[in-house]
């Protein structure tokens, strides 16, 4: 995975609350066989409205999305994170997130930043004209106007994101322990390892 130390650039000043996974990526996109290409279906119902922010040229390609409470609620579909990643979003800022969504986002190199509603309101104002910066080193969101909002991040997730470590890579680094376990179990419970058919 690409290391994410800082996400800086324009942000979609959205602010919508309770954005569920059906809004992020409608169910009919789930029959895909790739993680890529889901950006086309991202926010499909929102984009059906004329003048929506996702098709506004001022925000095209923004790496940051600013949303309201309870972002990513609904189903556990990982497609929601894939759709955002495919759209080029690497950070979402909101007052709260569904647990499953933030787990899925993290697994796909997307930072979920929790900030209080007044900070969200301010960032939405700024984002209409100027960039915002999410910095994992200092754990702050800043703007060109002296705004500085601190946030918390699980230390393990922060390290993974900053070093571009994916969970699989981390576990593969535990290979000696896994192989040791396999050898032990092969002796204790030999029926597990091989099957007749």
């Amino acid at each position: 995975m690409q290391p994410v130390k800082q996400v800086s650039g324009r942000a979609y000043p959205w602010g919508a609350k309770n954005v569920d996974t059906d809004v992020i990526i409608p169910a009919h996109w789930l029959k895909t066989v790739t993680r890529e290409g889901l950006g086309k279906g991202a926010f499909e119902t929102v984009r059906a409205e004329p003048g929506n922010i996702f098709d506004d040229p001022r925000y095209a390609g923004s790496p940051v999305l600013i949303a309201g409470d309870n972002f990513g609620c609904g189903s556990s579909r990982e497609h929601a994170a894939w759709a955002l990643a495919d759209l080029g979003i690497t950070a979402v800022i909101a007052p709260s997130f569904s647990d499953i969504f933030s787990g899925n986002a993290f697994k796909n190199g997307i930072v979920t930043v929790v900030l209080p509603q007044d900070a969200i309101d301010r960032l939405i104002e700024v984002a209409k004209t100027d960039p915002v910066t999410v910095d994992l080193e200092t754990m702050t969101v800043t703007t060109p106007f002296q705004d500085r909002f601190g946030f918390d991040l699980d230390p393990f997730r922060r390290q993974c994101l900053m070093e571009g470590l994916d969970e699989i890579g981390l576990t593969l680094a535990r290979d000696a322990a896994i192989s040791g376990y396999e050898a032990k179990v092969a002796g204790e419970r030999p029926w597990l390892a091989k099957r007749a058919a």
Partner: protein, 479 residues
């Protein structure tokens, strides 16, 4: 003596590779089932990173969700194309991936093909005391054999393929103890619907449920699979039932079960898995089985359970406001009026199948009701065996003839009408008595209305053209 432990604790402890300071453990996975819907991106991830499948021998792939249940080959035995392009692509992608990564695979055209959760136990792939995962929430079913089994997401599928492990935090434990004999016409499906009605659809959230008590001990493995399957509808990620002689008798001689001295060693180890006397659970729920009657759902959550002798509830009768609002919405979607007797509700579709109720005992129970009777006019009734082997067994017993003569359609194995992902769908606004596990809005097709029932109750609904109390058939009357 060591502290008394639950079945869950014993399996968990036997699978810890490493423990982190925060309590999270690296857990070894003994068995991994793969199907076409949740695996393509996982294989793509392996490919992109140049990674292999660590233990192909512990992995088994089988297609099920997208497969049409109409004949798969023509008269000459040539494979028929699948009309839906995206379904065809998912299925073809699985074939290509298992070939590339060397994963054991049961093809769509193989006699053993079926729904992953039917195939696993049937092949002896599912074994007591193992950890078993699949990218599908009804993996909970395999807990019926005493396996710690649960559904995972696609990134986790990739993680297991690459490392044969998962990073997990332990769950809380809940004992659901069910005691007493089941009355006539009352089946394991009624038991689990009753349980979910009692604990609620979120009642098991954060828990692994262990089902105990005489009612469970008296059940066949097929019945236990039905119960454990719907643990997820009660909010629990996994269900467990202690393996016993019934389990061992079921597994002995299955194609992938251990044999010879290994079988004996395995059984000896499995016997030690049952929860110790004095082991404690975080929560215990007691259920008197003699109070359970044939049950079904009225709404769009699996907790919306009523006895078949009941009526459509009045939303205003619920204590809390959010439940009242949800019930009003449900009834609106379901097109039902409070106070209507459940037996007065007519159906246009009947679905006997899904990983909850598509095994041979389910089909036998439905066939008893169908035998010598006919599906009501205007009702479309599907019987979809859970696997090719179930289908073959049913045909050997003549069940297919009973169903066909009674006006049911006899189909090829797959997930079918359980979810609207293949051609078997319930049209908008129409009503289905279904032996599946989810009555969510749109689950059987956009606008479809689902009532969850047992196989015998589904057959009874097909014959009467409305939801029916199967006990009328058991006692020989048809009302």
């Amino acid at each position: 003596m060591a502290n008394p432990q639950t079945l869950y604790e014993k399996i968990w402890n036997a699978h810890v590779v490493e423990k982190r300071d925060d309590g999270t453990c690296l857990i070894y996975i003994d068995r991994h089932l793969v199907h076409e819907v949740t695996s393509p991106q996982a294989f793509a991830g392996l490919r992109a990173n140049g990674r292999a499948v660590r233990r192909t021998d512990l992995t088994l792939a089988v297609p099920d969700h997208n497969l049409p249940t109409t004949p798969r080959v023509d008269a000459q035995g040539n494979e028929l194309p699948i009309a839906d392009r995206e379904s065809a692509t998912q299925l073809a992608t699985l074939r290509a991936n298992v070939a590339e990564f060397g994963v054991p695979y049961i093809d769509a055209l193989a006699a053993e093909q079926g729904i992953v959760h039917v195939v696993g136990p049937e092949q002896g792939f599912t074994l007591p005391g193992t950890t078993l995962v699949c990218g599908d929430s009804h993996t909970a079913a395999h807990g019926a054999l005493g396996a710690l089994a649960f559904g995972i997401g696609t990134s986790e599928v990739e993680h297991v393929l690459a490392t044969q492990t998962l990073q997990l935090a332990p769950s809380k434990s809940m004992e659901i103890r069910i005691e007493g004999p089941l009355g006539p016409g009352v089946t394991p499906k009624d038991v689990i619907l009753h349980v979910i009605g009692r604990i609620g659809a979120a009642g098991g959230t954060g828990y692994v449920i262990e089902y105990t008590g005489s009612t469970i001990r008296e059940m066949s493995i097929e019945g236990r699979l039905t119960v454990s399957n719907m643990s997820i509808e009660g909010g629990a990620r996994a269900g467990l039932i202690a393996p016993d002689d019934v389990t061992f008798a079921y597994l002995k001689g299955r194609p992938m079960s251990p044999t010879g001295a290994e079988w004996d060693a395995a059984v000896a180890w499995w016997r030690g898995l049952a929860s110790d006397a004095g082991a404690t659970y975080d929560r215990t729920v007691l259920i008197d089985a003699t109070e359970i009657v044939p049950s079904l759902t009225w709404g769009t959550s699996p907790e919306d359970v009523v006895p078949i002798t009941g009526v459509v509830p009045d939303p205003e009768s619920f204590a809390d406001a959010s439940k009242r609002a949800a019930a009003r919405k449900s009834l609106d979607y379901m097109g039902l009026t409070p106070g209507t007797a459940m037996t007065d509700v007519t159906v246009q579709h009947v679905f006997i199948g899904s990983c909850t109720n598509s095994r041979i005992e389910d089909l036998r129970a439905a066939a008893v009701i169908a035998d010598g009777r006919h599906v009501a006019q205007g009702v479309r009734a599907l019987v979809v065996p859970g696997s090719g082997l179930v289908k073959r067994q049913a045909e050997a017993e003549g069940l297919d003839r009973i169903f066909v003569d009674a006006g049911f359609e006899w189909r090829e194995p797959g997930c079918s009408m359980c979810l609207a992902m293949n051609p078997d769908k319930v049209p908008a606004g129409e009503r289905c008595a279904s032996t599946s596990n989810r009555n969510f809005v749109g689950r059987q097709g956009p606008g479809a209305r689902t009532h969850l029932v047992s196989p015998a109750m589904a057959a009874a609904a097909a014959i009467n053209g409305r939801l029916s109390d199967v006990r009328q058939f058991v006692s020989g009357e048809t009302r």
